[in-house]
Assembly symmetry: D2
Homo-oligomer: 136 residues x 4
């Protein structure tokens, strides 16, 4: 799928994120992807924190990941993030995680929904985000 926007984030694996197999614990990738999509939004000129402070929440509706190879302590991971859909009340990101040798470690995607903090109901994608995406 063609992306509306692409961005790359580097993340150094922390000791806390490994498990007794010596791998990055599988649950910790969700945090990496959150960091990656927040950076993508920053590169679009927006701030996720400001979005929340303005009364818009963006919880995750769906998350899916495939693991091909493990990541290890102190690895410098590269996460390629793509916004593949942003319409209605939703935004979809997909992610590819690579290690320093360029090997693909995992691939994932998340669907998030825009929610009004006041009503807890879904709302349309904010105009400021649509506008930022159309100016890429």
């Amino acid at each position: 799928m063609e992306a509306l926007f692409e961005s790359t984030t580097e993340i150094r694996v922390r000791y806390a994120e490994t498990d007794r197999m010596g791998y990055v614990y599988y649950g910790n990738y969700a945090t990496y992807f959150e960091v990656a999509r927040v950076e993508a939004i920053k590169k679009l000129g927006l701030s996720y924190r400001a979005l929340e402070d303005s009364g818009i929440m963006l919880p995750v509706l769906q998350y899916s990941i495939k693991f091909y190879k493990p990541a290890f302590y102190d690895d410098l991971l590269k996460i390629n993030t793509r916004i593949t859909l942003c319409k209605g009340t939703r935004i979809v990101f997909d992610y590819t995680v690579l290690n320093e040798d360029g090997q693909v470690l995992s691939q994932a995607d998340t669907t998030l929904v825009f929610i009004s903090a006041a009503t807890k109901k879904p709302i349309a994608v904010p105009e400021i985000l649509l506008s930022a995406l159309s100016n890429v």
Copy 2:
């Protein structure tokens, strides 16, 4: 899909697991499911720790989750875990998370692969596990 084995696990949401939305952070469900499948294996009369100590690793190959409603601090979650496939080199678990009111909060599944710690290659499902499943 019919399950080979079913098990229920209760998990109390910890403060550390919430985020500033007041929800359980979406990444933390992976930990809940790990707890749930380890308990399922215990109820089958096996020990995941003993499995690892005997040289068998069981990393996650694939993980997928859908979120319907958030979980909150101090909620007592009920996780229904089902083993839906266990053959070749893989085992598949699916999970349904419910709150105390019986509302379904999320549904997920994981595929794990049996690996030899020595060779790092996939190996067949251990006989002891197949035997436990066939005696359910």
Copy 3:
């Protein structure tokens, strides 16, 4: 020091909580102690969640821990929690972590301060807590 109240909590070590040394990651004990003090408060007949919902926050001011022996995956830890002080605007808990063999793994203490969510200023220990402690 004599305790105002004592309570015991059992915690099973999760895979996510181990690190590549095979030990429980040192940062994760803070979560165990939070679980332990919330249980202590429950045993006093109160609810930490209800406290927060009534507009009282209880952030940690100080935390200190000594490690004697590591904890491992799947260990069933016993945490002995004692409230050693509760006056003015503060409450002090101390904790001893033991493994299944009764070995002391670590000892810790935390000081927390009662804060008004509205003003973000320290407030006196709630009467309901003082009353529960005096009826122990």
Copy 4:
């Protein structure tokens, strides 16, 4: 106390690290300090990962922290790390966490012990580290 070595690390607060108070969860600072001391060791020309791979473990013996002000989501924290002692079998780090306005949020220290992975016994501080510290 005069420092043997000083280093500064910047850490962006992740969403996963906040709690329902909106603060960085108190347990997550331990991870920040681990990142900070690993960076300090890197700046000394050494690698903590290589140290471990050579059979030396460095578990934490003691950790203590005082909290003055909370950190919030997306804050760019500055951690000033100082090695204040490195002799016998131990190394002591102290840490000061500041926010972007230069406010001191917390202060902490950790004592770590060098352990042989083979014997699990304390060993002398590696020569390569003493040498690096004396050439600062």
